[in-house]
Amino acid sequence: MSVLAIGRTKARTRTVSRQTRKRRWIGLLFLSPALLLYGVIVLVPLLQTVNYSFYKWDGVSEPTWVGLRNYLEFGRDPRMYAAFGHVLVLILMFGLIPLGLGLISAALLSRAKIRGEGIYRWFLFLPQVLTSVVVAIIWKRIYAPDGPLNSLLRGVGLGHLTRNWLGDFTWALPSLGMIGVWGGFGFTMVLFLAGILAIPDELYEAARLDGSTRWQEFWLITLPSLRGQMAIALTLTITGALRTFDMVYITTQGGPGTATTTPALLLYQLAFVNPDVGRASATGVVLAVLCLGIAVGITRIMENKDR
């Protein structure tokens, strides 16, 4: 290549890169409204929450610096223990049960075309789009002392099992958990069905030639191929459990006693009802770190298995 040609290419790259650079400034201009709003509404408050968590403040008078005390008192507050303990039960019911049910039903249903697929999918997915407040009101009615669940139990001769489900210290929390099972199941099933459809048929054919049973096919092919979808389902349902608010606020307000309090409900009460803003912020920070940790952790575990 002649020197002249090299010189020419260089000149061209320079003009191109100058053009590109100009375009990238225009890009920043296009981005700026979104970036500004995002900064003001998300980033700055995020840092402020961390800052608030080092103060004792009732929301009105002058805040006082208390260092890490809000975090240290965490471990001594029985309300916090209760709230985070309840989350463990909710995780089990929101996360693991829909995961299992979704896997089984998706594995069964993926084997043959089912007529009216659009219709059943519409209904199974409905809880995902229904207003959460309405979901809570529906279930409050189902569980009411004179509600359909108790009528049903009486009708089949199990009258001794009837109770005020949401007012019962033992049963209120599992009853709330059932709402999560009901709402999450359609989501996991649709997710897993899509995942199974993406598995190449050859894998199953090869397994069949080797004489595998359907059970082995499920364990050796379907389940490992759905690892990504399972990670997504677990992350979403577990962080959903950690953040439960609307449902508890509408149905039980955390009661009876503190039988159904959740971290988000405590945060709301501490921040806005009986303000102890520093403590509320510390709760928020712990909640955020847990959510992030769980998301990262699950992704890690699922990726590690890949290797």
Binding site: R24, A34, L35, Y38, G59, L109, G118, Y249, L267, F272
Partner: protein
């Protein structure tokens, strides 16, 4: 390929699951039509008047209007912001994008609870609590991460040749976006609009905190208050709930595919 037994059992499973999910909703719909305030079903007397009664008693006209104004403003704003920022990241490139894009994506991991406390006290200080505008601004800011992610992926998936030929034709940066790219990306924009509508309309937490004044309340918060007051009029409570959930359910009826694929794509993002 599969046995007759399996085919039949598949239908049994599907029907059982659907009935299980549908039962609470169906019961509730029937309750809303019952003349009995106790919620006992009565098929011989269908009380359509429950809906008008709930509409008046629950102050729903006012709060549905509030929800509509807030939701429509937030949807329009979020969509425009998403198109602009998606175009910036996906097509134009942005100064400092190696840093800016991850920072914006981080927002998808930030839950509302973590930012709501300082937002409330700051907004109270500058008089933006109990204001529809205040809530819309919050919704706009919180919608940026998903919107940016969504429209960036959409624009990147469009064939590069379209943009090059637009550039050859001398279309400016602005016209290329609105005349050529946005029309091509219509399905993705529709999905974004639907998701954004659903998320804003269904919101309870933010409306509860930022719109304490009963005159400003959204439909979800008004409904929450209504069900607290009307424990003895179950049929009205059910009717009110159906009214509040209707807009999203109606959209879902027409755009099932967009809703399901959108929620799924939104989930997979992380």
């Amino acid at each position: 390929m599969i046995s007759r037994f399996e085919r039949v059992s598949n239908y049994v499973i599907v029907i059982a699951l659907t009935v299980g999910v549908l039962f609470p909703v169906a019961w509730f719909v029937l309750t809303s039509l019952s003349p009995n305030t106790s919620g006992a079903l009565d098929f011989s007397n269908i009380a359509w008047s429950n809906f008008t009664a709930a509409w008046h008693d629950g102050n729903l006209a006012h709060s549905m209007y509030a929800s509509l104004v807030i939701t429509v403003s937030a949807v329009i704003g979020q969509t425009i912001l998403a198109i602009l920022s998606g175009y910036a990241f996906g097509v134009l490139g942005v100064v400092g994008e190696r840093f800016l894009f991850p920072v914006i994506l981080l927002g998808m991991m930030v839950s509302t609870e973590v930012i709501v406390i300082p937002l409330y006290y700051e907004f109270q200080r500058i008089g933006l609590t109990n204001s529809w505008l205040g809530l819309v601004i919050i919704q706009l800011g919180m919608g940026v991460p998903f919107g940016t992610y969504w429209m960036r992926a959409t624009f990147r998936a469009l064939p590069r040749s379209v943009m090059d030929s637009a550039a050859v034709d001398g279309a400016g940066v602005w016209n290329t976006l609105w005349r050529i790219l946005v029309p091509m990306a219509r399905p993705a924009v529709l999905t974004l609009v639907l998701l954004s509508f659903m998320w804003t309309w269904n919101d309870f937490f933010l409306s509860l905190i930022f719109l304490g004044d009963p005159d400003k309340q959204t439909a979800t918060v008004a409904l929450g208050a209504f069900q607290g007051r009307h424990v003895l009029q179950v049929n009205l409570m059910a009717a009110g709930s159906l009214i509040v959930s209707l807009p999203v359910v109606a959209l879902y009826l027409f755009f099932q595919r967009e809703f399901i694929s959108g929620v799924m794509a939104g989930a997979v993002k992380e």
